[in-house]
């Protein structure tokens, strides 16, 4: 574990979390949430939790983003806040 690397990823994590909740376009929100999941995966790989990072890369960054996009496709793309 390298704490400088850790600090940089944590700052990016907070930024992407806030952006994905603030953006009005839900498709963009889903994509930025995928970036958030991938940063989380990098953080766990850096903390020596390789199995958790692998699961998050497959599940969080891959499949859950696809689920969100599928729901946005079936419902509305615009968000009021």
């Amino acid at each position: 574990m390298i704490w400088e690397f850790d600090l940089i990823i944590l700052i990016f994590l907070v930024i992407t979390a806030i952006i994905s909740l603030q953006v009005r376009d839900l498709l963009s929100a889903a994509m930025i949430f995928g970036i958030y999941s991938f940063l989380m995966c990098l953080l766990w790989a850096e903390m020596a939790a390789v199995d958790v990072a692998f699961t998050e890369a497959a599940v969080g960054a891959g499949v859950s983003t696809v689920f969100l996009i599928a729901t946005v496709f079936r419902t509305s793309r615009r968000s009021s806040d």
Binding site: F54, V66, R74
Partner: protein
């Protein structure tokens, strides 16, 4: 409502932040969680007891096998719940009014289809590798199953939902999902029949022709295959229900 939420999370956050100073230092090897004898036992004794170098998989599939079995059941239940919520069997013309940005359906692209035809076998081989080497390297049933399900999702994105349904009808997907849990539970019942505790694999050496330690390692592989069946099938089932609005006819 927004002001109320802001006040409440400020109070909760302040309470939690004031408790941070009581936590042990980050990365301290002698913190209570790291020096407790359960985790010490897992690190030092796992290879001697199970002959599996990856401790995470050993704890997941062997020491805490009962937990993992019902996590798999939770995933299966979630898939069944989504079918119960969304599935529509009527073929009425009650179509959903889609937003304008999605209504233009482009023609199927040659480049995308060719690339997917090249990529999907590689993805599936990689998924099988991840499942089979779950006890030797990072990976296992959950990860490999998700990757295997994602390859079918990619196929249905590149072509159509119907193309996949010719190969994998809905009933077959759910049969596969149930088969996974039955494989897992079958290992548990086999151990009971042979006279050991539920999911205590060392007795299976009578069937598998090896030492009890090797039997634990091989049973972990079998259990991971069961988990992978369920996870792969349920991931594709959830996707196909969500993307077609429960009609299982047209997709993205």
């Amino acid at each position: 409502m927004k002001i109320l939420g802001l006040i409440s999370i400020c109070i909760t956050g302040w309470l939690l932040l004031s408790a941070v100073s009581d936590f042990p230092e980050w990365g301290d090897p002698h913190s209570p969680a790291n020096s407790y004898q359960v985790s010490q036992h897992y690190i030092t004794k796992t290879f001697a007891e199970t002959s599996v170098p990856n401790m995470v998989t050993a704890v997941l599939a062997d020491y805490r096998g009962y937990d993992t079995m019902f996590e798999t059941v939770v995933i299966f239940t979630a898939g069944i719940a989504i079918i119960g919520i969304l599935r529509r069997y009527d073929s009425s013309s009650n179509t959903i009014n889609k937003p304008e940005s999605f209504t233009e359906k482009p023609k199927e692209d040659l480049i995308i289809r060719t690339n997917c035809r090249l990529l999907i076998p590689i993805i599936q081989i990689f998924a099988l590798y991840v499942i089979a080497h779950g006890h030797l390297s990072p990976g296992g049933g959950f990860q490999g199953g998700v990757i295997f399900g994602a390859s079918f999702i990619l196929l249905s994105l590149a072509h159509d939902l119907k193309t996949v349904q010719k190969k994998l009808p809905e009933g077959r997907i759910l049969t596969l999902a149930g088969t996974g849990i039955l494989i897992y539970a079958g290992f548990g019942f086999a151990t009971i029949v042979l006279g050991n505790n539920f999911l205590d694999y060392s007795i299976l050496s009578k069937i598998m022709l090896g030492t009890p330690i090797e039997a634990r390692s091989h049973s972990m592989l079998g259990v991971e295959i069961g988990v992978a069946f369920t996870v792969a099938a349920i991931m594709f089932s959830i996707y196909s229900n969500l993307v077609s609005g429960g009609k299982m006819k047209e997709g993205l």
